[in-house]
Amino acid sequence: MPTMTDEQVRAHLTHEEDLSLLHEVSMKTAGVSRLEMCIQCGSCGGSCPSGMDMDHTPRMVFAMLRAGMRDEVLQSNTPWVCVSCYHCVVRCPQNVHITDVMYTLKAMAIREKKYRDVAAPEFAETFVEMVEKYGRSYEFGLATRHYLKHAPLRMVGMAAMGLGMLRKGRMSMKPRTIKGMDQLTAILNKAKEMELT
């Protein structure tokens, strides 16, 4: 398995100035993103099952990153509409880690508070909060809070479904907390001090 040091990752990103935004996104992405290798072929945009609801196709986002269009990218709904299906990733002829770049963009948008539609980021934040509180996901709490806040009207329609899930024993009204909550909190607190750059 090829491993790369961050210096090697950086070395692929030449022309520091022109690529500064691209560089930043690339370095903040979990693996070796290969973002600088995009040839703008559009196989990502063509593959995307939710592409019709995106402000920009992933390909356009990558072009905008190259062009340094920070605000436009972080305001775009594109990463939020990504369904993590990985179709683009396996089809990309340049093996760009597209889905993971989308995650990075979400994280940057949240940090910089640039996102336009609040529903998705706040859902993510609520999810994270639940996990940090209990160590496991807590669907009932997540769903109730999310719908109350963002779609009170849909709550009526969804309530029937939720009730069905509760009745079939598929949703617990009680969260489960892991035993090692203190340990997990210590790990996450330490992790939050660090950033991958």
């Binding site: 369904v83 079939k168 617990s172 790990i187 607190n189 991958l196």
Partner: protein, 332 residues
Amino acid sequence: MSAYTFYPGCAMESNAKAYYTSLMAVAKPLGINLEEIEDWNCCGATEYVGMNLIPAYSLIARNLALAAKMGNKTVLSPCSACYLNLAKADHYMTERPALGEKVNEALAAGGLHYQPGSLDIRHLLDVLINDIGLDNLKAKVVRPLKGLRVAPYMGCMVPRPDYNNRWSDAEHPVELVEVLQAIGAEVVDFPGAATCCGGHMTQIGPETAFELIRRLISSAERSQADIMVTVCPMCQVNVDAYQGETNRHFGTNYQMPIVFFTQLVGLALGFPPDKLGFGTEITSTEKALARIGVDIPKPTEDTPHKQAGLPMPSCLRKNAKGKVQHAEKEAA
């Protein structure tokens, strides 16, 4: 009997109980010995990794560190999202050592350590085919599901991105087809086999999700499937529980049941449906299973009873500066 370190994932104890029940039923006769990770935590799903990178990978890696202590090389996950998150964390921590180092620094705060690349993260379907073997499975079938037309729904996160080259094809994987054929079911040509169920979009952008669900169900209908079969809790919930909403959205009237592959394997091995979690689905499987002469138990009315001290989560609120805060914190 092969021993596997078992990472069930959150869904298995809530919305995918049927998956858990049926897996536990079939594991023993198939010779899969599951040793659950002590005090595992959430894998972060697709939400946590999109929020904060190092904490997300540390969250995942806590499970890997705990799993490594169990002593088996293989970690088995039945949930597609959990499988991918665990495998991805392991892969990226190896590919980019800087990530691995930072995650381990965080783990150290909890007295843990994980050596990237030291575990094999595998999905249940892979273990069933490659360790247990189709011939072995076939030999144990006592009630072949002859005449049941099934749409094999593999979803996304198992065959893709496939960091360790475990799957036959990213676009048209054959694994689930082979298992279903082995238990005697009639597998239909299902073009939607590895397409998306909408994922988290049912929560944050339902219209997007409904369209994806519609494509799946209509594709299964065109193929004249009686039932869809999945390997993933998220896929099951989206197609099953959101089918009504999808029907309302498009003015359609689909009735396409979807169950976990372990439930059908269980039927073929001769277990009664009530031992396999049947009856917990929202879209009824009654008609489909009637084709092979299986009666579905009436759903157990597990009416929620009021509980004192139910922890009602707090709402997020924006303060005057537009900053998101907890209501309590603001009050405090």
